[in-house]
Every structure is written in structure tokens, then in C-alpha cells.
């Protein structure tokens, strides 16, 4: 088991967002975490990445407790994040953004190798490596964020709403990349509101409603489940 | 009212009662003399140096003791910080007069403070002796209880201006003065005197204390093509002005004449002999005895400062007055001040009333020229 989340509770200050959430992610799985806005998906991601403390419960990554670890230490375990809303460093070039993705890597040769790998995945980044990230379109920025996350050669990649606000063509591209990465052996936690698309490529899925896991299982079963629709549309 | 405020109000009340109880004074077994001076703020160097002078004088006096009515007394100095602001100076004097019950007050160094405290000396009937305030109005029209050793700016200007006119035969003059009452006062007094000789003032510029860059001002003086340039202020800025004037080449086009503090060796130690070479200064006091300078260096590891001399003389003057009065009654000491005839380090100290001035000493300033880092008096 790569990641085990056991009964975590987390939120902002006194506002509890997620309640008793437990999840498992196996090696080289794609797991989709779906649910409507405000259900608590991003909160779980933030708790794993150390941006938010958990008030109880544990997060175990490869047998090591990582809950409430300070944010900048999480990445050293091989966990990377593609954050919601892209969050590139707008006044830095593509190259610099990517270099920062490999901030923890001190070996220049490895950085170079990872860079080659990322450029192979996203040729557009290679073409525009001296351009400022802030001048990119939304889709390009999303590519850059994914590329940046990959620069640390993570074992486990969390993607928070990677398709949000992108044109349909780009969305398809993003999902294609997720599959490619999966084939390269990266374990992926995919948080999406595009339920159908994400369940299509995921091995398993969790449905989050109001801070609790209401459904989990093989993703092909979930696609058909009426409860998913209910979770979204409240019927 | 909030709950916490209530507690605070109660504590405030209790505090005030305590404060009231603690204000009772205590009797003195020594002669207490007050000293108000700036020890912090931009004028702190005067207070700090003045205090050195007072300490030196105090050592001498207390070793010997002050005989008053057949009894040997020692002097204790109560010193408070005025920060060179009138409100604090007034607080000091009130505290000295009412709490400490001093018999005389030394200070202040800043004219703005002296102007505010001089009337208080009359009010409390305690003699006050300013260390170095130069503004005319301190002793003109003057106060019964307030004394001054050094000449005011108005007194000085008529005494040395003719020498300058005779020596340099200038047609125009420029002024670069520190923006305080001393600087402005002296500049306008000199300007007025020069006017009588037909010398036009082409430029007057002011800078703040603590200013370090004078290129602007010097450039303007150069542009104005003045024959003589006066700079009125204190040594640190004066040294900067000279250094920068030399850098700019102003020393060749105009005669530079500094105010009285530029006549001190201090200037050479700060600016270097090269920067002062060939400039002039008004000098107020005679040369300081070498052994006194040595004492200062030995005791404080500090260079000579005229505030040390002034404060040293001031305490000796007051002590002299106490001995003459043979009484610790401030009013009698005041009367005795008028009888003091004492040769101090800085010159002959005797307080007189003349030409609208009151309780004022008369010194005649000289003009000196800096040559190879030493003072050469101008004939």
C-alpha cells in the first residue's frame, strides 16, 4: 500500500471540512476522488501535502506517518502536487518554474534528466522555456504545473482539479497525460469535478459528499451509480 | 465601559494615590546644582561633552570642598535630559527647582530651551547659567536670574565683521547655515553688518542638523559666485562642508569663513589639515591649556570639545558665586554671580548689563586662519 489515510478530520480553524475520511491508494493506481464543490476534496489534498494540519487520524505514506509534517518536507518523500488553480510562478520563466519543481534535488545531472523527461512529455514547454509563465494561456499553465510537479520525479502525484477552467480540447489532453504518467509508473490521486472523465481513467474511486466518503469502489461501477449523480445534483 | 477598562480605572486611581504619596521631597546635606542638557537626540553631543566638563570641575571642587559659612560642603549635580526640546527643558527646571531644590541651574545648550527656561529661573528665584546658548533674546532684554558667559550672535557680528571687510574686501557674501536659531540668528546678524559696508548677501541656504551631503548647497554657492562664504554651524557638519568644498574646488573661488566652532582644533581632527588649509574661522576663546586637554583625553579618551570647556567654566563660576555669597540662598547666590570676576579657560568671566543686555559677559572674538593644521590669528 502506498498511501493509507485513516479517519482523518481536518478543516480551517474551527470549521471542520472533512470528517473521518479513510482512503487507500495502492502502488501504480489512479484513484479518483470526486464530489461536488465544497465537499472537502481539496482539504484532503492539503492535509496530505502538509498545507493544513489534521486534527485527528493518520496519514501513512509507504509505512511512514506524514500527518502534520511541515509542508516543505512532504515532497522529500516522493509526493508531488499539481495544485488547484495552477499556481505557476508568473514572473519566472518556464525553465525556472521547472527548476523549482526539482528544488529538493541537488544533483544537477538528475535535474537535467528529469527536465528531458518533462520536455518529452510536454514539447511545448521545451519550445517556450524562456517565456514568462504568467504570459501563458490556462492550458499551457496547466501543462507547466504538471511538468513542475514531475520535476521531483515523484512516486505519488496528487492532481487537484487539473481540468478546471480549461477548454474541452485541453481537458482531453490533460487526461491523456494522466494516462501516460500512469503507464510510466506514477501513482496518481486525481481530484476532479469532471466525474465521468476521471472515473473513466481511474482504477478506483471515492465519492465525497459533505466531508464524508459516501461511496467507494471500482470506478466502472461508480460511473453507473445513481448515488454519484445525487452527490452532485442533490436529488 | 468594558470590564477590563473598569479594572484599569481602579488601578489608575490606586496608582495616582501612590504617586501623590511619593512626591514628598527629602532634605539635602550637600549643595545641589542642577544641569539640564540634551543627552539624547541630535544635539546629544553637547550634553555629553558638557557633562564631561562638569565632571572635571566637580572633581577639583569636591576635592577641595566648598566653604560656606565656615562649613565644608560638597557639590552634587542633578542632571536631566532636555533632548533639546523646550517642553522637556521646562520639565527639568521645574523638577530641579521644586523636587531637588537646587541652588543654581546650569544649562541648557540649546537656545530654544534657554528661551523657555530663562523666565522660569526668575519665577523660582534660582540663578541659571546657560552653557552655550547664543540667541540674543536669552539675555536681551534678559532676566534677573539668568546669566550667560559667551557673547550672543548679535554681540559677536559687529565685533568681527569689520576685520573681514578690511581683510578680504568682498563684494558679495553667501551663507550656509544650520537651520536652528543659532545658525539663522548669526547669519542674519553678520549679513546685516556686512550690508553696512555695502557687501551684498547673494545667497542664504539652510541645512538640517545631521545632514551629511552638502554638495547641493556648495554648488549653489559656487553658482552664486560669492567672494566670501560663511558657514555657520557645528564642527561635524563644518568638517563635512570643508571636505566637500575642497572636493568641489570651492575653496579656490571663495574665502570660506566658519563660525566660532570652526576655530577649534576639533575641526582639524575631523576634517584633516588638508581640508581646512587656507580657510578662516571666527574664534571666540583663547587657546586651551595643554594640560587640560590632556586631562580630557586621559579621563574620557575623547577629543577636546568646547562644550567641555564651557561647562567646566560654568560650574567653576557658579561655585565661585556660592563662595562669594557665603550662603546657600539662591537669591544671594544670584547677587554674588554679578560680583564674580574670574579668569576661565575660555576667557574673562564677568557679568555685566549693557546695551540692553543683562547678565552678559563680553568677549572679543578674533579671526583665525588655518595653516598646516594650526591656528594662525589674523591681525
Amino acid at each position: 500500500m502506498m498511501l493509507e489515510i485513516e479517519n482523518i478530520n481536518a478543516g480551517y480553524g474551527e470549521i471542520q471540512i472533512v470528517t473521518d475520511v479513510s482512503m487507500n491508494i495502492d502502488n501504480n493506481e489512479i484513484v479518483a476522488l470526486v464530489g461536488s464543490n465544497g465537499a472537502g476534496k481539496s482539504t484532503i489534498i492539503k492535509a496530505i501535502s502538509g498545507m493544513l494540519p489534521v486534527s485527528s487520524g493518520s496519514i501513512i505514506f509507504e509505512g511512514k506517518h506524514i500527518e502534520n509534517t511541515i509542508a516543505h518536507k512532504i515532497i522529500t518523500n516522493g509526493i508531488a502536487l499539481v495544485p488547484e488553480g495552477r499556481r505557476v510562478f508568473p514572473y519566472m520563466t518556464v525553465l525556472e518554474n521547472l527548476e523549482l519543481g526539482a528544488y529538493i534535488e541537488n544533483d544537477q545531472k538528475t535535474v537535467q534528466e528529469n527536465m528531458e523527461w518533462v520536455f518529452g512529455l510536454f514539447p511545448i514547454l521545451d519550445e517556450r522555456k524562456t517565456q514568462l509563465a504568467g504570459t501563458f494561456s490556462g492550458g499551457e499553465q496547466q501543462m507547466l504545473t504538471i511538468g513542475r510537479a514531475l520535476m521531483s520525479k515523484p512516486k505519488f502525484l496528487m492532481m487537484d482539479e487539473p481540468s478546471l477552467g480549461l477548454a474541452p480540447v485541453i481537458v482531453d489532453e490533460v487526461f491523456k497525460i494522466v494516462e501516460v504518467l500512469h503507464n510510466e509508473g506514477v501513482t496518481i490521486l486525481l481530484v476532479e469535478q469532471n466525474v465521468r472523465k476521471s472515473l473513466e481513467i481511474a482504477n478506483r474511486g471515492y465519492v465525497l459528499e459533505h466531508g464524508r466518503i459516501v461511496l467507494e469502489g471500482e470506478s466502472k461501477n461508480l460511473v453507473e451509480d445513481e448515488k454519484v449523480k445525487k452527490a452532485y445534483l442533490g436529488m | 465601559m468594558k470590564k477590563s477598562s473598569r479594572v484599569m480605572v481602579i488601578i489608575m486611581a490606586a496608582g495616582m494615590v501612590l504617586l501623590g504619596l511619593s512626591t514628598a521631597g527629602f532634605a539635602a546635606s550637600v549643595i545641589k546644582i542642577g544641569y539640564t542638557a540634551p543627552f539624547t537626540g541630535s544635539a546629544a553631543e553637547f550634553g555629553v561633552n558638557g557633562w564631561r566638563g562638569i565632571q572635571l570641575a566637580l572633581e577639583e571642587i569636591n576635592k577641595k570642598g566648598v566653604m560656606v559659612a565656615g562649613k565644608k560642603h560638597t557639590i552634587e549635580i542633578k542632571r536631566y535630559d532636555s533632548i533639546c526640546t523646550p517642553t522637556d527643558g521646562v520639565a527639568n527646571v521645574r523638577k530641579l527647582a521644586m523636587q531637588d531644590k537646587v541652588v543654581a541651574i546650569l544649562g541648557d545648550h540649546c537656545s530654544s530651551v534657554c528661551v523657555a527656561i530663562a523666565p522660569l529661573c526668575d519665577q523660582f528665584k534660582i540663578p541659571g547659567l546657560t552653557i552655550e546658548c547664543a540667541a540674543d533674546k536669552v539675555t536681551k532684554p534678559g532676566h534677573e536670574f539668568y546669566f550667560r558667559m559667551r557673547p550672543s550672535v548679535g554681540l559677536m557680528a559687529p565685533l568681527f565683521t569689520p576685520t573681514i571687510v578690511k581683510k578680504f574686501k568682498p563684494k558679495s557674501a553667501a551663507f550656509l547655515v544650520v537651520n536652528d536659531d543659532y545658525g539663522l540668528g548669526l547669519a542674519s546678524a553678520i549679513s546685516k553688518e556686512l550690508d553696512k559696508f555695502g557687501v551684498k548677501t547673494v545667497l542664504t541656504d539652510h541645512f538640517e542638523r545631521g545632514n551629511t551631503d552638502f554638495m547641493v548647497y556648495l554648488a549653489k554657492i559656487k553658482k552664486a559666485k560669492a567672494d566670501v562664504a560663511f558657514y555657520v554651524g557645528v564642527v561635524p557638519e563644518g568638517a563635512m562642508i570643508l571636505k566637500q568644498a575642497r572636493e568641489m574646488g570651492l575653496t579656490e573661488s571663495a574665502k570660506l569663513i566658519g563660525s566660532e566652532e570652526m576655530g577649534e582644533m576639533e575641526l582639524v581632527s575631523l576634517a584633516g589639515a588638508e581640508a581646512t588649509e587656507g580657510t578662516y574661522a571666527v574664534s571666540l576663546w583663547g587657546s586651551v591649556p595643554g594640560d587640560f586637554s590632556k586631562r580630557v583625553t586621559k579621563r574620557f579618551n575623547a577629543p577636546m570639545h568646547y562644550a567641555i570647556i564651557f561647562a567646566y567654566d560654568a560650574l567653576h563660576t557658579v561655585t565661585r558665586a556660592i563662595e562669594l555669597a557665603q550662603s546657600l540662598d539662591p537669591v544671594k547666590i544670584k547677587d554674588a554671580m554679578k560680583k564674580v570676576d574670574y579668569q576661565g579657560l575660555e576667557g574673562h568671566i564677568k557679568f555685566e548689563d549693557f546695551e540692553g543686555y543683562r547678565n552678559q559677559c563680553k568677549f572679543v572674538p578674533a579671526i583665525i586662519k588655518w595653516e598646516g593644521g594650526s591656528r594662525v590669528p589674523l591681525k
Partner: protein, 310 residues
Amino acid sequence: MLSVNRIALGIILIFLLLIPHIASSYVVYVAVLAILFSMLTASYDLLTGYAGPLSFCHAAFYGFGAYTSALLTLKTGMSFWLALPISGIAVFLFGVVVGYPALRLRGHYFAVTTFFFGHFMYLVFLNARDLTRGPLGLGGIPPPDSIFGIDFSSLTANYYLILIFGILMVGFLYALVNSGYGRLIVSIRENEDLAEAVGVNTAFVKVMAFSISAGLAGITGSLFAHFFRLLHPTTFAWMTSEMIVVMALVGGIGTLVGPIIGAGVVTFILEMMRFAPELRFIIWAILLIAILIIEPRGLAGIFARIRGGI
């Protein structure tokens, strides 16, 4: 509780009234300064404590009021009793002119800008020599004209005059912050966006808080001018503004009582430290940092904690 409160207030009042009769003129003089500073911190509290923006230029308004009042009486021979309200109104209007653009800035920008404004006004006091006589000091200001047969040239009379104005001002501020207007002012401090959304004209209320605060400082300045009868620009330099901020903070802003006590405590401490001139401000700065570390809300916060048992 209220009765204890009243008794305490009563003791303070009686004590304040008795000061000139039981204490030396030095204490009375310091008390006058403390009252003047209390008035400044109390009026400062209206802006920074109640409305929120951190300002560093209160002494500029204090000085503006002082010079306005002094010049009115000196140049036009106006009576103090007329010059006082006029200078208050003048500074109020000046506050509107300055506050309107300045208050569009938020946070540190506003704070730093007021810092510069304070310094700028100091330069004006210093260099507008035709009016203020600059560093020569503006002297010969008449004491308040006698009224009801009371001659205000004595320290004691001035003490009572300033005390009465102090009480009036604190009373006014107390009424103001507890009134409907006061609540709107507080709403800006607590949440400006929410206040705007429920219909508070926040820009207007802020400018008013700023200007009233300035105007009251101006009145204090006028009282100072005719009490001290000598004005010098250094009295209104940035150091004084800092002092006001620190006094208010030590007491605890946003409580009205806190800043007044802060003014008293800081004045008292600084007076007690007169014997150690060089260390005075070092200790003072360390004290401030210590208070920030212990309780950033100042004495009021400390008392609240004691009461809360935390």
C-alpha cells in the same frame, strides 16, 4: 460593579482636582503634559483604535492646531476662546483634505504614508519661517484671556483649564464611540467589506474618524500653545507621533481608557528615568518590544487576560 467603577472614577477626579494643592509645580507641570498627552492618545485612539488604520502623524495635527491658534492670537489679536474652536475646525478640515486621499491606501501603505506626512509637516513648521519663525521658536503667545475673572497666566489655572478640556474631550469621545456613529466606526475596524455591504459609507466614516481625531489633536495643540506660550518645531517632530503611538499601544488601543492610562504610565516612567538620560529611550524601546512580546494588546490586554484567568 458599576458603583465600584464610579467610586474609582470619583477618586481619580478628586485626585486630579487636588494635584495643584498637594504637589509641587513640577508635578503639576508634568501632570499638564500627561493630560495633554492623554488627550492626544485618546483622540488618536478614535482613528487607530476604533476605526483601525495605523497612523504615525498625529503630532502633525497637534502642531498644526498649536501654530494655527498661536498665529491667530498673535497676528489678529483674536481671543483664545475664539482661536481654540477655530483651530480645531481648521485642523478638522485639514484632516478631511489629507484623509480623503490617504485613506484610500490600506495597511502598511497608509502607515508609511502617514509617517512621511508627519515628517513633511515638521519640515513645513521648520521652514515656513515667515509664519512659524521656524527654529527660532514662536514666542510671546498670550495665555488664555481671563474669563469669569479667572486669570490663566498661572500654572494652576492652566492646569484646571486643561483638565476640564481633557475631561470634556474624553467625555465627548466616550459618548461618540458609544453612540451610533461609534458603532459604525468600529464596524470598519472589524470588517470593512462587511460594513460596506450592510450599507455603511465606509469611505466617509473613515475620513470622519480621521478628521475628528485630527481636529481634537488640533484643539489639544491650541491648549498647549497657550499654556506653554512658546512653540518650537521639534515639539511636533515624528518623535512625538511615535510617542503617541507607543503610549496608546502600551495602554491598549480601542479601549479609550487604555491609551489614557498609557499616556499617564509612559509619561510617569519617562519622568522617573530622568536621572539616567542616556538610558531613557533604550529602556523605553525595550519596554515596548517586551509589551509586544508579552501582549500585543497592551495593558488592556494584560488586564483582560488576568480577568479571563488565562
